[in-house]
Protein backbone atom coordinates (compact mmCIF):
# COMPACT_ATOMS: atom_id res chain seq x y z
CA UNK A 1 0.00 0.00 0.00
CA UNK A 2 1.10 3.52 -0.59
CA UNK A 3 2.62 5.19 2.43
CA UNK A 4 1.31 8.69 1.81
CA UNK A 5 -0.49 9.88 4.90
CA UNK A 6 -3.19 11.72 2.93
CA UNK A 7 -4.40 8.41 1.53
CA UNK A 8 -5.81 7.33 4.84
CA UNK A 9 -8.44 10.07 4.64
CA UNK A 10 -8.81 10.06 0.90
CA UNK A 11 -10.43 6.59 0.83
CA UNK A 12 -13.29 7.39 3.22
CA UNK A 13 -13.74 10.84 1.65
CA UNK A 14 -14.32 9.11 -1.68
CA UNK A 15 -16.68 6.35 -0.58
CA UNK A 16 -18.56 7.92 2.34
CA UNK A 17 -20.83 10.18 0.23
CA UNK A 18 -22.18 7.16 -1.67
CA UNK A 19 -22.66 5.21 1.56
CA UNK A 20 -24.37 8.18 3.22
CA UNK A 21 -26.76 8.49 0.26
CA UNK A 22 -27.69 4.83 0.46
CA UNK A 23 -28.03 4.87 4.25
CA UNK A 24 -30.30 7.93 4.07
CA UNK A 25 -32.55 6.63 1.29
CA UNK A 26 -32.43 2.86 1.79
CA UNK A 27 -31.39 2.35 5.41
CA UNK A 28 -33.66 4.98 6.95
CA UNK A 29 -36.75 3.96 4.90
CA UNK A 30 -36.09 0.35 5.85
CA UNK A 31 -36.25 1.28 9.53
CA UNK A 32 -39.29 3.45 8.84
CA UNK A 33 -41.00 0.52 7.11
CA UNK A 34 -40.66 -1.51 10.28
CA UNK A 35 -41.83 1.39 12.46
CA UNK A 36 -44.86 2.01 10.23
CA UNK A 37 -45.81 -1.64 10.39
CA UNK A 38 -46.15 -1.28 14.17
CA UNK A 39 -47.97 2.08 13.98
CA UNK A 40 -51.32 3.42 12.82
CA UNK A 41 -49.91 5.72 10.13
CA UNK A 42 -52.22 6.70 7.30
CA UNK A 43 -51.74 9.08 4.37
CA UNK A 44 -52.36 12.55 5.82
CA UNK A 45 -51.34 11.80 9.41
CA UNK A 46 -47.95 12.78 10.75
CA UNK A 47 -45.77 11.41 13.53
CA UNK A 48 -45.60 7.77 14.51
CA UNK A 49 -47.99 6.31 17.02
CA UNK A 50 -47.12 2.72 17.85
CA UNK A 51 -49.89 0.15 18.17
CA UNK A 52 -47.89 -3.07 18.60
CA UNK A 53 -48.80 -6.09 16.52
CA UNK A 54 -52.26 -4.75 15.65
CA UNK A 55 -51.52 -4.45 11.89
CA UNK A 56 -49.98 -7.89 11.67
CA UNK A 57 -52.99 -9.37 13.44
CA UNK A 58 -55.51 -7.79 11.12
CA UNK A 59 -53.38 -8.49 8.05
CA UNK A 60 -52.98 -12.16 8.94
CA UNK A 61 -56.72 -12.46 9.42
CA UNK A 62 -57.62 -10.99 6.05
CA UNK A 63 -58.46 -13.48 3.28
CA UNK A 64 -56.87 -11.18 0.67
CA UNK A 65 -53.55 -11.46 2.45
CA UNK A 66 -53.65 -15.26 2.55
CA UNK A 67 -54.43 -15.32 -1.15
CA UNK A 68 -51.58 -12.89 -1.79
CA UNK A 69 -49.04 -15.02 0.08
CA UNK A 70 -50.16 -18.16 -1.70
CA UNK A 71 -50.15 -16.45 -5.11
CA UNK A 72 -46.71 -14.92 -4.56
CA UNK A 73 -45.28 -18.36 -3.81
CA UNK A 74 -47.11 -20.05 -6.69
CA UNK A 75 -46.10 -17.35 -9.19
CA UNK A 76 -42.48 -17.35 -8.10
CA UNK A 77 -41.98 -21.11 -8.04
CA UNK A 78 -43.85 -21.95 -11.22
CA UNK A 79 -42.28 -19.09 -13.16
CA UNK A 80 -38.80 -20.10 -11.99
CA UNK A 81 -39.31 -23.76 -12.93
CA UNK A 82 -40.43 -22.83 -16.44
CA UNK A 83 -37.75 -20.16 -16.84
CA UNK A 84 -34.89 -22.45 -15.85
CA UNK A 85 -36.04 -25.22 -18.17
CA UNK A 86 -36.62 -22.91 -21.15
CA UNK A 87 -33.50 -20.83 -20.69
CA UNK A 88 -31.31 -23.94 -20.54
CA UNK A 89 -32.77 -25.27 -23.76
CA UNK A 90 -32.49 -21.86 -25.41
CA UNK A 91 -28.90 -21.35 -24.23
CA UNK A 92 -27.90 -24.69 -25.77
CA UNK A 93 -29.46 -23.71 -29.08
CA UNK A 94 -27.82 -20.28 -29.05
CA UNK A 95 -24.35 -21.30 -27.94
CA UNK A 96 -22.60 -22.02 -31.25
CA UNK A 97 -22.28 -19.16 -33.75
CA UNK A 98 -24.57 -19.27 -36.79
CA UNK A 99 -25.62 -16.80 -39.44
CA UNK A 100 -28.13 -14.27 -38.10
CA UNK A 101 -27.28 -15.03 -34.46
CA UNK A 102 -27.01 -11.33 -33.60
CA UNK A 103 -30.52 -10.63 -34.84
CA UNK A 104 -31.97 -13.74 -33.17
CA UNK A 105 -30.31 -12.69 -29.92
CA UNK A 106 -31.75 -9.18 -30.19
CA UNK A 107 -35.30 -10.45 -30.68
CA UNK A 108 -34.96 -12.99 -27.89
CA UNK A 109 -33.68 -10.30 -25.53
CA UNK A 110 -36.44 -7.77 -26.29
CA UNK A 111 -38.73 -8.81 -23.41
CA UNK A 112 -35.96 -8.18 -20.90
CA UNK A 113 -34.54 -4.96 -22.29
CA UNK A 114 -37.82 -3.21 -23.07
CA UNK A 115 -39.52 -1.48 -20.10
CA UNK A 116 -41.59 -4.05 -18.17
CA UNK A 117 -44.70 -1.93 -17.98
CA UNK A 118 -44.76 -1.47 -21.76
CA UNK A 119 -44.21 -5.15 -22.57
CA UNK A 120 -46.99 -6.02 -20.15
CA UNK A 121 -49.39 -3.61 -21.89
CA UNK A 122 -48.55 -5.45 -25.10
CA UNK A 123 -49.72 -8.66 -23.43
CA UNK A 124 -52.85 -6.98 -22.15
CA UNK A 125 -53.79 -6.31 -25.76
CA UNK A 126 -52.97 -9.89 -26.79
CA UNK A 127 -55.11 -11.21 -23.92
CA UNK A 128 -57.94 -8.67 -24.38
CA UNK A 129 -61.40 -9.94 -23.54
CA UNK A 130 -62.84 -9.20 -27.00
CA UNK A 131 -60.04 -8.52 -29.45
CA UNK A 132 -57.54 -11.13 -28.27
CA UNK A 133 -55.56 -12.61 -31.14
CA UNK A 134 -55.36 -15.89 -29.21
CA UNK A 135 -59.14 -16.03 -29.07
CA UNK A 136 -59.34 -15.28 -32.80
CA UNK A 137 -56.95 -18.13 -33.63
CA UNK A 138 -58.83 -20.57 -31.38
CA UNK A 139 -62.15 -19.58 -32.93
CA UNK A 140 -60.67 -19.93 -36.42
CA UNK A 141 -59.47 -23.42 -35.46
CA UNK A 142 -62.99 -24.20 -34.18
CA UNK A 143 -61.79 -24.83 -30.64
CA UNK A 144 -64.37 -22.31 -29.42
CA UNK A 145 -67.52 -20.93 -30.97
CA UNK A 146 -67.46 -17.17 -31.73
CA UNK A 147 -68.05 -15.11 -28.54
CA UNK A 148 -67.85 -18.26 -26.39
CA UNK A 149 -64.08 -18.24 -25.76
CA UNK A 150 -62.86 -17.71 -22.19
CA UNK A 151 -61.76 -14.27 -20.99
CA UNK A 152 -58.06 -14.78 -20.38
CA UNK A 153 -57.77 -12.14 -17.68
CA UNK A 154 -61.31 -12.48 -16.36
CA UNK A 155 -61.27 -15.98 -14.89
CA UNK A 156 -59.16 -16.72 -11.80
CA UNK A 157 -57.20 -19.71 -13.11
CA UNK A 158 -56.57 -18.25 -16.54
CA UNK A 159 -55.60 -14.92 -15.03
CA UNK A 160 -53.04 -16.66 -12.82
CA UNK A 161 -51.69 -18.56 -15.80
CA UNK A 162 -51.45 -15.29 -17.73
CA UNK A 163 -49.43 -13.61 -14.99
CA UNK A 164 -47.04 -16.58 -14.84
CA UNK A 165 -46.78 -16.50 -18.62
CA UNK A 166 -45.80 -12.82 -18.68
CA UNK A 167 -43.26 -13.30 -15.88
CA UNK A 168 -41.69 -16.19 -17.80
CA UNK A 169 -41.70 -14.19 -21.02
CA UNK A 170 -39.80 -11.39 -19.29
CA UNK A 171 -37.29 -13.54 -17.38
CA UNK A 172 -36.37 -16.19 -19.96
CA UNK A 173 -34.08 -13.77 -21.85
CA UNK A 174 -32.29 -12.67 -18.69
CA UNK A 175 -31.80 -16.24 -17.50
CA UNK A 176 -30.68 -17.38 -20.95
CA UNK A 177 -27.93 -14.79 -21.10
CA UNK A 178 -26.68 -15.85 -17.68
CA UNK A 179 -26.76 -19.52 -18.75
CA UNK A 180 -24.79 -18.63 -21.89
CA UNK A 181 -22.16 -16.96 -19.74
CA UNK A 182 -22.08 -20.12 -17.62
CA UNK A 183 -21.71 -22.44 -20.60
CA UNK A 184 -18.84 -20.50 -22.10
CA UNK A 185 -17.08 -20.83 -18.74
CA UNK A 186 -16.94 -24.64 -19.05
CA UNK A 187 -13.54 -25.59 -20.50
CA UNK A 188 -14.15 -27.10 -23.96
CA UNK A 189 -11.84 -30.06 -23.27
CA UNK A 190 -14.11 -31.61 -20.64
CA UNK A 191 -17.23 -32.25 -22.76
CA UNK A 192 -14.95 -33.24 -25.66
CA UNK A 193 -13.11 -35.80 -23.53
CA UNK A 194 -16.48 -37.10 -22.30
CA UNK A 195 -17.66 -37.48 -25.90
CA UNK A 196 -14.52 -39.47 -26.79
CA UNK A 197 -15.19 -41.69 -23.78
CA UNK A 198 -18.62 -42.39 -25.24
CA UNK A 199 -20.85 -40.14 -23.09
CA UNK A 200 -24.03 -39.20 -24.97
CA UNK A 201 -25.92 -35.90 -25.01
CA UNK A 202 -27.98 -36.52 -21.86
CA UNK A 203 -25.10 -37.94 -19.87
CA UNK A 204 -22.88 -34.98 -20.75
CA UNK A 205 -25.71 -32.64 -19.85
CA UNK A 206 -26.55 -34.13 -16.46
CA UNK A 207 -23.12 -35.29 -15.30
CA UNK A 208 -20.86 -32.58 -16.68
CA UNK A 209 -22.55 -29.42 -17.96
CA UNK A 210 -25.23 -28.93 -15.31
CA UNK A 211 -23.01 -29.71 -12.29
CA UNK A 212 -20.31 -27.38 -13.60
CA UNK A 213 -22.92 -24.68 -14.09
CA UNK A 214 -24.39 -24.97 -10.60
CA UNK A 215 -23.01 -21.66 -9.31
CA UNK A 216 -24.26 -19.70 -12.28
CA UNK A 217 -27.53 -21.61 -12.31
CA UNK A 218 -28.08 -20.55 -8.72
CA UNK A 219 -27.32 -16.92 -9.55
CA UNK A 220 -29.95 -17.02 -12.29
CA UNK A 221 -32.48 -18.66 -9.98
CA UNK A 222 -31.81 -16.26 -7.09
CA UNK A 223 -32.18 -13.14 -9.23
CA UNK A 224 -35.22 -14.70 -10.88
CA UNK A 225 -36.82 -15.26 -7.47
CA UNK A 226 -36.22 -11.64 -6.48
CA UNK A 227 -37.52 -10.29 -9.78
CA UNK A 228 -40.74 -12.32 -9.60
CA UNK A 229 -41.43 -12.32 -5.87
CA UNK A 230 -41.02 -8.58 -5.39
CA UNK A 231 -42.55 -7.47 -8.68
CA UNK A 232 -45.86 -5.67 -8.78
CA UNK A 233 -45.72 -4.14 -12.26
CA UNK A 234 -46.91 -7.19 -14.18
CA UNK A 235 -49.83 -7.92 -11.87
CA UNK A 236 -50.80 -4.27 -11.48
CA UNK A 237 -51.06 -3.66 -15.22
CA UNK A 238 -52.36 -7.03 -16.32
CA UNK A 239 -55.08 -7.72 -13.75
CA UNK A 240 -54.71 -5.19 -10.90
CA UNK A 241 -54.87 -8.24 -8.61
CA UNK A 242 -58.25 -9.34 -9.85
CA UNK A 243 -60.58 -10.98 -10.54
CA UNK A 244 -61.56 -11.17 -6.84
CA UNK A 245 -57.97 -11.00 -5.55
CA UNK A 246 -57.20 -14.19 -7.47
CA UNK A 247 -53.92 -12.77 -8.81
CA UNK A 248 -53.10 -10.48 -5.88
CA UNK A 249 -49.47 -10.78 -4.71
CA UNK A 250 -47.75 -9.40 -1.62
CA UNK A 251 -46.36 -6.33 -3.42
CA UNK A 252 -49.58 -5.56 -5.28
CA UNK A 253 -51.62 -5.96 -2.10
CA UNK A 254 -49.18 -3.72 -0.23
CA UNK A 255 -49.70 -1.07 -2.89
CA UNK A 256 -53.47 -1.48 -2.97
CA UNK A 257 -53.64 -1.21 0.83
CA UNK A 258 -50.84 1.25 1.61
CA UNK A 259 -51.00 3.75 -1.25
CA UNK A 260 -54.30 3.34 -3.09
CA UNK A 261 -56.13 2.62 0.20
CA UNK A 262 -53.99 5.12 2.14
CA UNK A 263 -53.45 2.72 5.07
CA UNK A 264 -49.65 3.12 5.21
CA UNK A 265 -49.31 1.00 8.33
CA UNK A 266 -51.08 -2.07 6.99
CA UNK A 267 -49.30 -1.70 3.63
CA UNK A 268 -45.93 -1.58 5.37
CA UNK A 269 -46.83 -4.65 7.43
CA UNK A 270 -47.73 -6.56 4.26
CA UNK A 271 -44.54 -5.66 2.43
CA UNK A 272 -42.45 -6.72 5.44
CA UNK A 273 -43.47 -10.28 4.63
CA UNK A 274 -41.10 -9.99 1.65
CA UNK A 275 -38.14 -9.75 3.99
CA UNK A 276 -37.65 -13.43 4.96
CA UNK A 277 -37.35 -14.39 1.30
CA UNK A 278 -34.98 -11.50 0.59
CA UNK A 279 -32.74 -12.43 3.52
CA UNK A 280 -32.69 -16.06 2.38
CA UNK A 281 -31.76 -15.07 -1.14
CA UNK A 282 -29.04 -12.67 0.05
CA UNK A 283 -27.56 -15.39 2.25
CA UNK A 284 -27.49 -17.92 -0.58
CA UNK A 285 -26.04 -15.32 -2.94
CA UNK A 286 -23.16 -14.68 -0.53
CA UNK A 287 -22.49 -18.40 -0.25
CA UNK A 288 -22.36 -18.77 -4.02
CA UNK A 289 -19.99 -15.80 -4.29
CA UNK A 290 -17.70 -17.15 -1.59
CA UNK A 291 -17.55 -20.69 -2.88
CA UNK A 292 -16.58 -19.65 -6.37
CA UNK A 293 -14.40 -16.65 -5.82
CA UNK A 294 -11.82 -18.39 -3.59
CA UNK A 295 -11.29 -15.29 -1.51
Amino acid sequence: MSARSGDRWLGPAMFLPAIAYILALVGVPLVLAVLYAFSDARIGTSGIHLVGFENFRSVLESPSFRKAIRNSIVFTLSAQAIVILCSNVLAMALEKPFRGRGLVRFVILLPWVAPVSLGTIGWKWILDSIYSVITWVLVALHVYKPYAAPMWLGEPRLAMASVVLVHCWRLIPFSTVIMLAGRTAIPKEIPEAAAIDGAGFWRTLFQINLPMMTPILSVAVLFGIIFTFTDMTVVYILTAGGPFDSTQTLPSLAFATGIAGSDLAAGAAISLFLVPVLVGVAYLMLRVAHRTEVV
Binding site: A93, V104, F106, W125, D128, Y131, W169, A185, L274
Partner: protein, 282 residues
Protein backbone atom coordinates in the same frame (compact mmCIF):
# COMPACT_ATOMS: atom_id res chain seq x y z
CA UNK B 1 -20.15 -41.90 -41.08
CA UNK B 2 -23.54 -41.57 -42.75
CA UNK B 3 -25.18 -42.08 -39.38
CA UNK B 4 -23.02 -39.33 -37.92
CA UNK B 5 -24.03 -36.75 -40.51
CA UNK B 6 -27.65 -37.78 -40.18
CA UNK B 7 -27.44 -37.24 -36.47
CA UNK B 8 -25.79 -33.89 -36.98
CA UNK B 9 -28.52 -32.83 -39.39
CA UNK B 10 -31.09 -33.94 -36.82
CA UNK B 11 -29.43 -31.92 -34.07
CA UNK B 12 -29.29 -28.90 -36.36
CA UNK B 13 -32.98 -29.02 -37.20
CA UNK B 14 -33.91 -29.47 -33.53
CA UNK B 15 -31.86 -26.37 -32.78
CA UNK B 16 -33.53 -24.44 -35.58
CA UNK B 17 -36.95 -25.47 -34.29
CA UNK B 18 -36.10 -24.44 -30.73
CA UNK B 19 -34.82 -21.07 -31.93
CA UNK B 20 -37.83 -20.50 -34.16
CA UNK B 21 -40.20 -21.29 -31.31
CA UNK B 22 -38.54 -18.88 -28.91
CA UNK B 23 -38.10 -16.10 -31.46
CA UNK B 24 -41.83 -16.24 -32.15
CA UNK B 25 -42.89 -16.62 -28.51
CA UNK B 26 -40.63 -13.88 -27.15
CA UNK B 27 -40.87 -11.49 -30.08
CA UNK B 28 -44.60 -11.80 -30.76
CA UNK B 29 -45.86 -9.00 -28.45
CA UNK B 30 -43.57 -6.53 -30.22
CA UNK B 31 -44.65 -7.75 -33.65
CA UNK B 32 -48.22 -7.33 -32.48
CA UNK B 33 -47.49 -3.76 -31.35
CA UNK B 34 -46.26 -2.95 -34.87
CA UNK B 35 -49.43 -4.39 -36.41
CA UNK B 36 -51.74 -2.46 -34.06
CA UNK B 37 -49.79 0.77 -34.55
CA UNK B 38 -50.58 0.95 -38.26
CA UNK B 39 -54.11 -0.48 -38.33
CA UNK B 40 -57.23 1.62 -38.71
CA UNK B 41 -59.61 1.47 -35.76
CA UNK B 42 -62.44 -0.14 -37.73
CA UNK B 43 -60.06 -2.91 -38.78
CA UNK B 44 -58.67 -3.25 -35.23
CA UNK B 45 -62.08 -3.54 -33.61
CA UNK B 46 -63.93 -5.79 -36.03
CA UNK B 47 -63.81 -9.20 -34.41
CA UNK B 48 -64.52 -11.06 -37.65
CA UNK B 49 -61.50 -9.56 -39.46
CA UNK B 50 -58.39 -11.69 -39.69
CA UNK B 51 -56.11 -9.81 -37.25
CA UNK B 52 -52.96 -10.91 -39.11
CA UNK B 53 -53.99 -9.05 -42.27
CA UNK B 54 -54.48 -5.40 -43.08
CA UNK B 55 -58.12 -5.52 -44.12
CA UNK B 56 -58.07 -1.75 -44.63
CA UNK B 57 -55.07 0.31 -45.77
CA UNK B 58 -52.50 1.04 -43.00
CA UNK B 59 -52.72 4.41 -41.24
CA UNK B 60 -50.48 6.84 -39.37
CA UNK B 61 -53.44 8.18 -37.38
CA UNK B 62 -52.42 6.45 -34.11
CA UNK B 63 -48.94 7.93 -34.27
CA UNK B 64 -50.36 11.38 -35.02
CA UNK B 65 -52.79 11.10 -32.11
CA UNK B 66 -49.98 9.97 -29.81
CA UNK B 67 -47.61 12.79 -30.66
CA UNK B 68 -50.15 15.58 -31.10
CA UNK B 69 -53.06 14.89 -28.75
CA UNK B 70 -51.46 13.18 -25.77
CA UNK B 71 -48.66 14.16 -23.42
CA UNK B 72 -46.43 11.42 -24.79
CA UNK B 73 -43.70 13.82 -25.93
CA UNK B 74 -43.75 15.55 -22.57
CA UNK B 75 -43.32 12.17 -20.83
CA UNK B 76 -40.39 11.34 -23.07
CA UNK B 77 -38.86 14.68 -22.10
CA UNK B 78 -39.46 14.08 -18.39
CA UNK B 79 -37.88 10.65 -18.64
CA UNK B 80 -34.85 11.98 -20.51
CA UNK B 81 -34.35 14.78 -17.97
CA UNK B 82 -34.64 12.42 -15.01
CA UNK B 83 -32.31 10.00 -16.79
CA UNK B 84 -29.62 12.65 -17.27
CA UNK B 85 -29.84 13.84 -13.66
CA UNK B 86 -29.80 10.33 -12.23
CA UNK B 87 -26.80 9.43 -14.38
CA UNK B 88 -24.99 12.54 -13.12
CA UNK B 89 -25.70 11.75 -9.45
CA UNK B 90 -24.77 8.12 -9.95
CA UNK B 91 -21.44 8.95 -11.58
CA UNK B 92 -20.56 11.62 -9.01
CA UNK B 93 -21.08 9.20 -6.13
CA UNK B 94 -20.30 5.76 -7.56
CA UNK B 95 -17.08 6.39 -9.50
CA UNK B 96 -15.02 7.74 -6.56
CA UNK B 97 -16.60 5.23 -4.16
CA UNK B 98 -15.80 2.29 -6.40
CA UNK B 99 -12.20 3.44 -6.80
CA UNK B 100 -11.75 3.93 -3.07
CA UNK B 101 -13.26 0.54 -2.27
CA UNK B 102 -11.21 -1.20 -4.93
CA UNK B 103 -7.87 0.43 -4.15
CA UNK B 104 -7.73 2.29 -0.85
CA UNK B 105 -9.71 0.26 1.67
CA UNK B 106 -7.95 -3.12 1.55
CA UNK B 107 -9.96 -6.20 2.56
CA UNK B 108 -12.56 -3.91 4.11
CA UNK B 109 -13.25 -2.49 0.68
CA UNK B 110 -14.24 -5.90 -0.65
CA UNK B 111 -16.65 -6.47 2.25
CA UNK B 112 -18.19 -3.02 2.01
CA UNK B 113 -18.53 -3.57 -1.73
CA UNK B 114 -20.50 -6.78 -1.15
CA UNK B 115 -22.66 -5.07 1.49
CA UNK B 116 -23.46 -2.27 -0.97
CA UNK B 117 -24.23 -4.79 -3.68
CA UNK B 118 -26.71 -6.51 -1.37
CA UNK B 119 -28.70 -3.29 -1.02
CA UNK B 120 -29.42 -3.71 -4.74
CA UNK B 121 -31.54 -6.70 -3.70
CA UNK B 122 -33.87 -4.54 -1.57
CA UNK B 123 -36.85 -4.00 -3.87
CA UNK B 124 -38.91 -0.83 -4.40
CA UNK B 125 -41.97 -2.75 -3.23
CA UNK B 126 -40.46 -2.88 0.27
CA UNK B 127 -39.47 0.78 0.43
CA UNK B 128 -42.14 2.64 -1.52
CA UNK B 129 -44.42 3.22 1.48
CA UNK B 130 -41.87 4.87 3.80
CA UNK B 131 -40.27 6.65 0.84
CA UNK B 132 -43.63 8.16 -0.12
CA UNK B 133 -43.54 9.84 3.31
CA UNK B 134 -39.93 10.94 2.92
CA UNK B 135 -40.77 12.42 -0.48
CA UNK B 136 -43.80 14.22 0.97
CA UNK B 137 -41.79 15.64 3.87
CA UNK B 138 -39.19 16.97 1.43
CA UNK B 139 -41.97 18.60 -0.59
CA UNK B 140 -41.12 16.62 -3.71
CA UNK B 141 -44.46 14.89 -4.12
CA UNK B 142 -45.83 14.97 -7.69
CA UNK B 143 -42.53 16.40 -8.94
CA UNK B 144 -40.10 14.53 -11.15
CA UNK B 145 -37.43 15.40 -8.59
CA UNK B 146 -38.92 12.76 -6.29
CA UNK B 147 -37.65 10.05 -8.60
CA UNK B 148 -34.44 11.95 -9.33
CA UNK B 149 -33.77 11.66 -5.59
CA UNK B 150 -34.75 8.01 -5.20
CA UNK B 151 -33.52 6.30 -8.38
CA UNK B 152 -29.84 6.66 -7.51
CA UNK B 153 -30.45 4.29 -4.58
CA UNK B 154 -31.05 1.64 -7.24
CA UNK B 155 -28.29 2.66 -9.65
CA UNK B 156 -25.44 3.41 -7.24
CA UNK B 157 -25.06 -0.07 -5.66
CA UNK B 158 -24.89 -1.93 -8.95
CA UNK B 159 -22.66 0.75 -10.49
CA UNK B 160 -20.19 0.59 -7.60
CA UNK B 161 -20.08 -3.16 -7.97
CA UNK B 162 -19.45 -3.00 -11.74
CA UNK B 163 -16.81 -0.30 -11.43
CA UNK B 164 -14.97 -2.01 -8.57
CA UNK B 165 -14.37 -4.97 -10.86
CA UNK B 166 -13.27 -2.58 -13.57
CA UNK B 167 -10.80 -0.62 -11.41
CA UNK B 168 -9.28 -3.80 -10.00
CA UNK B 169 -8.33 -4.88 -13.50
CA UNK B 170 -6.26 -1.70 -14.03
CA UNK B 171 -2.56 -2.28 -13.14
CA UNK B 172 -1.49 -0.41 -10.02
CA UNK B 173 1.70 0.71 -11.80
CA UNK B 174 -0.39 3.24 -13.71
CA UNK B 175 -1.11 5.30 -10.59
CA UNK B 176 2.23 4.54 -8.95
CA UNK B 177 4.09 5.96 -11.95
CA UNK B 178 1.87 9.05 -11.98
CA UNK B 179 2.46 9.61 -8.28
CA UNK B 180 6.22 9.26 -8.69
CA UNK B 181 5.84 12.02 -11.28
CA UNK B 182 4.38 14.23 -8.56
CA UNK B 183 0.62 13.76 -8.82
CA UNK B 184 -1.36 13.17 -5.64
CA UNK B 185 -3.35 9.95 -5.30
CA UNK B 186 -6.54 11.84 -6.14
CA UNK B 187 -4.82 13.55 -9.05
CA UNK B 188 -3.68 10.18 -10.35
CA UNK B 189 -7.24 8.90 -10.06
CA UNK B 190 -8.68 11.83 -11.99
CA UNK B 191 -5.96 12.17 -14.63
CA UNK B 192 -4.86 8.56 -15.17
CA UNK B 193 -7.51 6.10 -13.96
CA UNK B 194 -10.73 7.82 -15.09
CA UNK B 195 -9.57 8.28 -18.71
CA UNK B 196 -8.70 4.58 -19.11
CA UNK B 197 -12.02 3.59 -17.51
CA UNK B 198 -14.25 5.26 -20.08
CA UNK B 199 -15.84 2.00 -21.21
CA UNK B 200 -16.68 0.97 -17.64
CA UNK B 201 -18.13 4.39 -16.93
CA UNK B 202 -20.14 4.27 -20.15
CA UNK B 203 -21.60 0.94 -19.04
CA UNK B 204 -22.74 2.58 -15.82
CA UNK B 205 -24.27 5.46 -17.77
CA UNK B 206 -26.30 3.11 -19.95
CA UNK B 207 -27.30 0.92 -17.01
CA UNK B 208 -28.53 3.91 -14.99
CA UNK B 209 -30.36 5.52 -17.88
CA UNK B 210 -32.19 2.35 -18.89
CA UNK B 211 -33.14 1.66 -15.28
CA UNK B 212 -34.78 5.10 -15.17
CA UNK B 213 -36.82 4.25 -18.25
CA UNK B 214 -37.84 0.84 -16.89
CA UNK B 215 -38.83 1.69 -13.31
CA UNK B 216 -42.53 1.70 -12.56
CA UNK B 217 -43.35 1.40 -8.84
CA UNK B 218 -41.74 4.59 -7.51
CA UNK B 219 -42.97 6.74 -10.38
CA UNK B 220 -46.48 5.39 -9.91
CA UNK B 221 -46.36 6.04 -6.16
CA UNK B 222 -44.79 9.49 -6.03
CA UNK B 223 -46.17 11.29 -9.07
CA UNK B 224 -49.83 11.80 -9.89
CA UNK B 225 -50.27 14.78 -12.28
CA UNK B 226 -50.42 13.52 -15.83
CA UNK B 227 -48.00 16.12 -17.19
CA UNK B 228 -45.23 15.13 -14.74
CA UNK B 229 -45.30 11.43 -15.57
CA UNK B 230 -42.46 9.22 -16.63
CA UNK B 231 -42.94 7.33 -19.87
CA UNK B 232 -43.18 3.89 -18.19
CA UNK B 233 -46.18 4.98 -16.08
CA UNK B 234 -47.73 7.54 -18.40
CA UNK B 235 -48.32 5.07 -21.23
CA UNK B 236 -49.98 2.21 -19.35
CA UNK B 237 -51.92 4.38 -16.87
CA UNK B 238 -52.66 7.75 -18.44
CA UNK B 239 -53.17 6.86 -22.09
CA UNK B 240 -56.22 4.98 -20.91
CA UNK B 241 -59.26 7.25 -20.51
CA UNK B 242 -61.59 5.74 -17.96
CA UNK B 243 -62.11 2.25 -19.27
CA UNK B 244 -61.42 3.21 -22.86
CA UNK B 245 -58.21 1.81 -24.26
CA UNK B 246 -56.79 3.54 -27.33
CA UNK B 247 -55.04 0.35 -28.35
CA UNK B 248 -53.56 1.72 -31.57
CA UNK B 249 -51.77 4.66 -29.99
CA UNK B 250 -51.05 2.64 -26.84
CA UNK B 251 -49.17 0.05 -28.87
CA UNK B 252 -47.48 2.80 -30.90
CA UNK B 253 -46.29 4.41 -27.68
CA UNK B 254 -44.92 1.12 -26.34
CA UNK B 255 -43.05 0.56 -29.56
CA UNK B 256 -41.59 4.06 -29.85
CA UNK B 257 -40.47 4.07 -26.22
CA UNK B 258 -39.11 0.52 -26.03
CA UNK B 259 -37.13 0.05 -29.20
CA UNK B 260 -34.40 2.68 -28.71
CA UNK B 261 -33.91 1.53 -25.13
CA UNK B 262 -33.74 -2.08 -26.26
CA UNK B 263 -31.16 -1.34 -28.96
CA UNK B 264 -28.83 0.52 -26.60
CA UNK B 265 -29.23 -1.97 -23.75
CA UNK B 266 -28.49 -4.82 -26.11
CA UNK B 267 -25.10 -3.34 -26.96
CA UNK B 268 -24.04 -3.30 -23.31
CA UNK B 269 -25.74 -6.45 -22.16
CA UNK B 270 -22.68 -8.65 -21.79
CA UNK B 271 -21.11 -6.21 -19.36
CA UNK B 272 -24.25 -6.01 -17.18
CA UNK B 273 -24.34 -9.77 -17.04
CA UNK B 274 -20.74 -9.86 -15.89
CA UNK B 275 -21.89 -7.70 -12.98
CA UNK B 276 -24.93 -9.84 -12.23
CA UNK B 277 -22.98 -13.07 -12.08
CA UNK B 278 -21.00 -11.78 -9.06
CA UNK B 279 -17.78 -13.47 -10.05
CA UNK B 280 -19.38 -16.90 -10.34
CA UNK B 281 -17.98 -17.11 -13.85
CA UNK B 282 -14.22 -17.02 -13.97
Amino acid sequence: MARGTLREAGAKSVKALVLAFFVVALGFPFFWMVVATFKQNIDLYTVENNPFLFNLPPTLEHLRFLFVETRFVRWLGNTALVGVLVVAITLALAVPAAYALARLAGRWGERLGIAIFLTYLIPPTLLFIPLSRVVAVLGLQDSIFSVVLVYPTMTIPFSIWLLMGFFKSIPRELEDAAMVDGLTRFGAFVRMVVPVSVSGILTVVIFSFTLVTQEFVYALTFISPERNQMVGVGIPIYLVRGDVYYWGSLMAACLVASLPIAVVYNLFLDRFIAGFTVGSVK
